[in-house]
Amino acid sequence: MSTLKPFSKIPELNSANVLLVENEEQFQKKLADVIVNAEKDVSVGVRLARRLPLPVENEETRPCIDLVVFIINLSFERSFQSVELSLKYVDPGFFLGKVCFLVTGARCWSVSSDRLQSVRKLATSLRCPLLYAEDQTVEGVNTAAARLLRVLKVTAGLTPWATGLSLSTLTRCTLSSDLEGDFD
């Protein structure tokens, strides 16, 4: 079992790499296609994973990961469970601004409201940003991809005067005061 470490590889010039982790492997494919085609100035690499830890065999070929995105589909409980298990294999160094959560299916009318709350609690406890995305429409996918790309460029150090840590501190998920009471 190997943990994913942020500084085990030397970063390449003008390139950024994002790791999309999703148990269902649906949304990540759509996102990846948009992300790689949207960016022209920088070489953006996308790694798709179902869960962590990542296979040791790919260790050599895997570039330096600048951002880890955990995608959670609220319709399925397993989606959340799988992310919870994967988090164990992320080096604490990543949580200094290089992890974010992306939630889909929050708009669905029969979605469990306490599941969304659990996700929010998780993101808050890890001091990570939590993004919402619409996975059913093309527009939703494009928007989500554009947001991730912007975050990625910051975490990869390609945006002047911004760092992943500062961005993440500004945008991290917080709970409203009365809900925070439940959470220690």
Binding site: L19, A32, S43, V46
Partner: protein, 347 residues
């Protein structure tokens, strides 16, 4: 035309969709094609029936029940997916089982069945693809055979398989006995396989569908031919994905698999959940009935495994569907206190 003949004819005309009625009547051949062409198939079924009836009476003044039953069979053979078919299995074959041929079988079956029950009408028809179709209308000592709720039986000669449609438990032993004797077998039992599509359960049982076996040569998987992905996108778990797909195909077949709708498991095993001491220590089984259903069960299960909703390797409980050719299982523990399972067939 007597009353029963009329009713059966009316039912057939009503049941057959107007678009197909002409074709069915033509195959039947009791009404000249010329006159059929003049019929207006777009009118109401009520008018249509009257037209067909008068045509029949004009052309063959002695149209009997036999002829009308034949018409029903023609339609039914062409459209067998109207209800649940059950598969049965002939066992303990005699030595001369291979020599049974159609004529002999017809005579034997009719003779045996009429010996067992007095009021019964049997019609046997050989269909193109090696199958023998039997239509049985059951009656008893006091009643004439009920032509409106016939049982259909499909048997492939020289094979142990029999497919039954609409058979009541009352008539089951009679049919079984007649079939066993006519096909020169020792006994007959339920295969625990049922489905709406006759062709599917037949193909499934006779294994005439594409099964995946490992070979030395790279298989031309359709999945491999997907559009080339961007070189900047890398799948970390590509290998596992491939492996899961292979295992799923080995367990549930690939490509065009027979269409099964359900699989049912009656679990009578000890509780096996995690972290529950009270129930884990309980001696009695935890009774549950699990039913999987889908428009195409094997495809769904295949997808379930290949998409990672199930762990691999595929559990023997699920792979038994294809391996044993059944979709009803009773699962009990092997002995008491033994954690391994065995499948015990329901008597």
């Amino acid at each position: 035309m007597d009353e029963t003949t009329r009713t059966v004819l009316q039912r057939v005309v009503r049941k057959v969709p107007a678009t197909r009625l002409r074709e069915v009547l033509r195959t039947w051949g009791r009404v000249p094609a010329r006159q059929l062409d003049l019929l207006d198939f777009s009118t109401s079924k009520f008018v249509l029936f009257e037209d067909v009836r008068s045509l029949c009476e004009v052309n063959s003044n002695r149209l009997t029940l036999k002829h009308v039953c034949e018409l029903e069979m023609i339609y039914f053979i062409g459209n067998p997916a109207q209800g649940v078919w059950r598969a049965c299995h002939l066992t303990e074959p005699d030595d001369d089982v291979m020599t049974v041929e159609l004529r002999q079988f017809k005579e034997q079956f009719k003779a045996r069945l009429t010996e067992l029950i007095s009021n019964v009408s049997v019609k046997i028809k050989k269909h193109d693809d090696e199958a023998v179709w039997i239509r049985i209308a059951w009656g008893d000592h006091f009643h004439r055979p009920n032509q409106l709720k016939p049982t259909y039986v499909v048997h492939h000669l020289q094979t142990p398989y029999v497919f039954v449609y609409n058979l009541s438990t009352k008539h089951k032993p009679l049919l079984y006995q007649a079939l066993v004797l006519a096909t020169r077998h020792g006994s007959m039992k339920d295969s625990h396989l049922s489905g709406k599509s006759l062709t599917s359960i037949r193909d499934f049982l006779m294994r005439s569908y594409q099964q995946a076996f490992p070979t030395k040569y790279a298989r031309p998987l359709q999945e491999k031919n997907t559009a080339p992905t961007n070189p900047n996108i890398e799948k970390e778990h590509a290998e596992q994905e491939e492996k899961r797909l292979q295992l799923a195909c080995e367990a549930f077949g690939e490509g065009n698999v027979p269409r099964l709708e359900t699989a049912t498991y009656k679990l009578e095993t000890r509780y096996r959940g995690s972290g529950n001491e009270t129930l884990n220590n309980r001696e009695e089984p935890f009774r549950a009935l699990i039913k999987f259903s889908s428009a195409n069960l094997l495809v769904s299960l295949n997808h379930c495994v290949s998409a990672g909703m199930a762990e691999t390797p595929v559990t023997p409980l699920l792979s038994s569907i294809t391996q044993k050719g059944k979709n009803y299982f009773v699962i009990t523990d092997k002995g008491s206190g033994n954690s391994s399972q065995s499948m015990v067939q329901k008597k």
